[in-house]
Symmetry: C2
């Protein structure tokens, strides 16, 4: 497997912020990528890819877990559980786009943490 | 935006291979991540994150395109088109898991290219 040596470098396109409303987050897109927001206001739903930045390097080494931490359940590969632990901890969430204010997208349903780096935004 | 300076390093967990069947690809998981495949055979559908490795650095600078390359349509931000061009070209596809043979997952519906690096595998 030659490609296992490949390292991919990703520069976040923005950052997530919590708001006073529990289910609403703001995605602040880096000003460098403002042009990529053209016609954002026409979107109703988006697919957000974000980096689970609270996991550390040790977490990324864990390859098997008990589903939902329930030790009565057999161990399962991290690829097949909803645990955030995985070699490349990227979260993928479909969100509702509530509002666009300049570089800021107000979205509902994003399960990121405050300050999570945003990796990509797609139509959904 | 302090976090725009953050660079995230991703090591692929495997690689995609085309097969003789047009809609079937093999995901060959790196032997380093074999443990993360435990109970793979119980899965029916997977969400595959892969790196669109045929795009080059110049492609990643393009922030607006005409949808489907149709110049009669107004330019749109790359976040809101199905174009692969985007700052971080990660593809997300839901696939059917046909068969597991050791480290190899036979999947239907993956729209990656031959040799595309696989970034993550999730239940779907």
């Amino acid at each position: 497997m030659s490609d296992s040596d490949l390292n991919i470098s990703i520069e976040p396109v923005g950052i997530a912020h919590t708001t006073d409303e529990p289910d609403v987050m703001i995605i602040e897109v880096d000003s460098k990528f403002t042009d990529a927001l053209l016609l954002a206001e026409e979107q109703e739903h988006l697919l957000i890819l974000y980096w689970m930045h609270r996991l550390n390097e040790a977490d990324r080494q864990i390859l098997q877990v008990h589903p939902r931490g329930d030790k009565t359940k057999p161990l399962r590969g991290v690829f097949f559980v909803h645990s955030p632990m995985r070699p490349n901890p990227i979260g993928v969430t479909r969100v509702e786009l509530l509002k666009v204010e300049g570089n800021r997208l107000f979205v509902k349903g994003l399960d990121a943490f405050d300050e999570s780096p945003i990796i990509d935004i797609k139509s959904a």
